[in-house]
């Protein structure tokens, strides 16, 4: 395939990766920003979202869209509730101590993964997309003597993949609106800025924490529900999104939402494009190298603010 269409196709594929990555990474970033908790179990909340989506789709039956819409609502809520419960029962009791929360969330990772293996099993299972038309992209080129529209094979994307890109964009706008325009967002920002002062002003910090942890996990689950009709639900699927989300959050600046979204776009697109033209391994190498460079030259991340 020629360079032009090839590049556009890679960009579109990268945009799907970026969309889901942005949701996952914003969840991680939110939790770190407000609670200062490095959540190693984040990838498992993502995996849980996909697995629950499969269960919901199985139970609902009928037209695939019904099951998918139900999963879109139920999976993030269930995962969010589970995460909030984990916050109240575990993280609160270790007083959000940075080292201990890392160990606790590593433990949580294994517990969730093994419980999923014991109940859901080791198989990869698909959820049917609510709709999935093949959208042919227009392409023009010279044929010997005349200029006309061509249809090179592969020069297309599915309508569902386009939907994922737009849906993720809409959810991210929602998160931004929540943080910037609502009372709960205000409480979160206040807690993020100064926990002790927020407590002194009567903000129920513990409840805010449980909510933030729940929302963070719910966002990861939402990303997984969106991706599961493209890929499949599998108990080991949480590993890669966790690593990529950490890369994104470090580059974007821990706790900075705009930085996270921008970094997710950058990493998602570069992953799509570099793996097409060179190799997927090179894409990962460059992303990790970028993390190293950011940590050396701008430790607070591209959009982060330096803490004293």
């Amino acid at each position: 395939m020629e360079f032009g269409p090839h590049l556009i196709l890679a960009t579109l594929e990268g945009a799907v990766t970026a969309a889901v990555l942005a949701l996952t990474a914003v969840g991680l970033s939110l939790v770190f920003g407000v609670m200062r908790v490095v959540n190693i179990a984040h990838g498992e909340f993502y995996m849980l979202g996909a697995v629950i989506a499969w269960y919901v789709a199985q139970m609902v039956g009928g037209h695939p869209a019904l099951g998918f819409v139900a999963a879109l609502v139920i999976a993030p809520l269930v995962v969010g509730a589970l995460a909030a419960a984990a916050d109240v029962t575990i993280l609160k009791h270790i007083e959000y101590d940075p080292e201990r929360t890392i160990v606790a969330t590593i433990g949580l990772l294994y517990v969730i993964q093994q419980l999923t293996l014991m109940t859901y099993g080791p198989e990869a299972r698909p959820v049917e997309a609510p709709f999935s038309g093949r959208v042919e992209l227009p392409w023009y080129e010279w044929f010997e003597t005349l200029f006309g529209m061509a249809q090179p094979w592969g020069w297309s994307i599915t309508s569902y993949k386009l939907f994922v890109i737009f849906a993720a964009g809409a959810v991210l706008c929602g998160v931004w609106a929540m943080m910037a325009r609502t009372r709960i967002g205000l409480l979160m920002r206040a807690t993020q800025a100064d926990r002790d002062m927020a407590l002194a002003f009567g903000i129920p910090v513990e409840r805010v924490y449980a909510l933030v942890f729940g929302i963070g996990a719910g966002l990861a689950a939402l990303g997984a529900v969106l991706i599961v009709p493209i890929q499949q639900a599998h108990y080991l699927m949480g590993v890669e999104p966790l690593l990529l989300a950490f890369i994104v959050v470090i580059i974007g600046g821990l706790g900075s939402l705009p930085g996270t979204v921008l970094a997710a776009l950058f990493i998602g697109l570069s992953d799509g494009i570099i793996s097409v033209f060179f190799s997927p391994t090179l894409a990962k190498i460059l992303a990790t190298l970028l993390v190293g460079l950011v940590l050396v030259f701008r430790p607070q991340g591209l959009f982060g603010t330096r803490t004293a």
Partner: protein, 428 residues
């Protein structure tokens, strides 16, 4: 003063004997069998991919093994002894694979190890089996057994290897589908076997491989690789394994739409996947290699019918109890046949216990032609004792009305190649 030395009195001797008898009665069960070892079950360590990327194969390898063991035990077992399967999950992980082999030999006291499929696990485990002198019967397809990379204790007598499969397929592909081929394969040992041997085989047919697209085994989305397929490709050759296979085939269909080259795939890209899954309609008219045809063919032999029923698979290749649970039919016969070969080998060598392991290896090495039978429902085979590799018939099927219909069967001679190793020269 003279010290009195007590002699052994009759009463004293009786006491000692009574004590020894009581002691023997209290020994653990295993020790009591010391006198009656021949009635103890033969322990076969089953290295099973229950979890990890090989889980679908592990599930069906397990069911096939269970069915074969039931049949053998009902027929009186091996040398009058029952078979006992000791299954251990290796997580489809080479490191855990080696640990499992260690457990078979040292913890469970297994007579042999058996069952491994994924080539990287075989490569990780075989050296340990060789060191422990544990006969290790693999049901993989990698060329590493016959290439001489492993050792005398590793054998592959129940399933053919990639080199012989692709060599036998290449003439059909070049004559019927096209000569300009693009290959897509997983980026590890098994995929590299496909890359190397099919490229050589198609060149021998006067064809050429335009592009080789290697995909990392952990990859979950594939569309971004497909634009590398050159437009003058006549045949797309694909083989993919693991939990992402459905995604792979589906995205392939989305990519080509109603255009695209002829498609020839190894059934590995579709093992345990229902052909009628949404998004796979484009497979209609495409071709697949099958070790054993998933759909019952019109001329299915009585042996295959028996086997199909014994492992609980219906005529579409799905589980009798759950039609959505599709089997790994093209590979799992290897477990059934390997267990029957272990039986034949142990009977030929008069195998009585771990001390006879070397005799067992020599007995299997002495095997040659294996006729089609209940023990070999996939078809006749020819074992090469020097390379420890079996050769057999291969099938090409075409998807017609959502069924895999066999269109070509190769001869055993099509699959043969010159020996690359002689394991019989290695010490036992």
């Amino acid at each position: 003063m003279t010290k009195l030395i007590k002699g052994t009195s009759r009463r004293g001797a009786l006491k000692t004997l009574a004590g020894a008898a009581a002691g023997a009665a209290s020994l653990p069960l295993w020790a009591r069998y010391a006198q009656a070892q021949s009635s103890e079950p033969i322990k076969i360590g089953f290295q099973q991919h229950s979890t990890g990327i090989g889980a679908a194969y592990g599930r069906w390898y397990g069911r096939t093994t269970e069915a074969a063991v039931k049949l053998i035990n009902e027929g009186g077992g091996i040398n009058g002894r029952k078979i006992e399967i000791i299954a251990e999950d290796d997580g489809t992980d080479p490191k855990r694979g080696a640990e499992v082999v260690e457990k078979f030999a040292n913890q469970h006291g297994c007579d042999v190890g058996f069952g491994t499929l994924f080539s990287h696990v075989v490569i990780g485990s075989a050296p340990r089996a060789g060191e422990l002198k544990l006969p290790y019967f693999v049901v993989s397809e990698g060329h590493h057994v016959a290439s001489g990379m492993l050792n005398r204790y590793t054998l592959q007598p129940g399933i053919t290897d990639v080199k012989s499969q692709v060599q036998a397929m290449a003439p059909y592909v070049s004559e019927n589908l096209g000569k300009k081929v693009t290959m897509i394969f997983p980026d590890f040992a098994f995929g590299h076997d496909h890359r190397d041997f099919f490229t050589a085989a198609i060149e021998e047919q006067g064809g050429e491989v335009l592009e080789q697209i290697a995909i990392p085994p952990s990859e979950t989305s594939f569309t971004k690789y497909f634009p590398q397929i050159p437009r003058d490709t006549e045949v797309l050759y694909h083989v993919m394994v693991g939990p992402a296979v459905l995604t792979f085939v589906k995205e392939l269909g989305e990519f080509f739409g109603d255009q695209g080259p002829e498609i020839f795939g190894f059934i590995d890209s579709l093992e345990a996947v229902d052909i009628s899954s949404p998004g796979l309609e484009f497979l209609e008219g495409t071709y697949f290699w099958e070790g054993m045809p998933r759909y019952a063919q019109e001329d299915q032999s009585e042996h295959e019918a028996f086997y199909r029923e014994a492992v609980g698979v219906d005529e579409t290749g799905a589980s009798v109890s759950d039609p959505s649970d599709v089997s790994t039919y093209a590979h799992m016969f290897g477990c059934w046949e390997t267990l029957h070969i272990i039986k034949a080998g142990m009977e030929a060598s008069g195998y009585a216990g771990p001390l006879d392991r070397a005799k067992l290896i020599e007995a299997v090495e002495a095997m040659g032609d294996m006729p089609e039978s209940q023990a070999h429902p996939q078809g006749a085979k020819r074992f090469n004792g020097k390379t420890h590799q079996v050769f057999g018939h291969q099938h090409i099927s075409r998807v017609e009305n959502g069924r895999l219909v066999r269109v070509h069967t190769t001869s055993i001679d099509d699959t043969m190649y010159p020996d690359e190793v002689d394991y019989t020269t290695q010490p036992l």
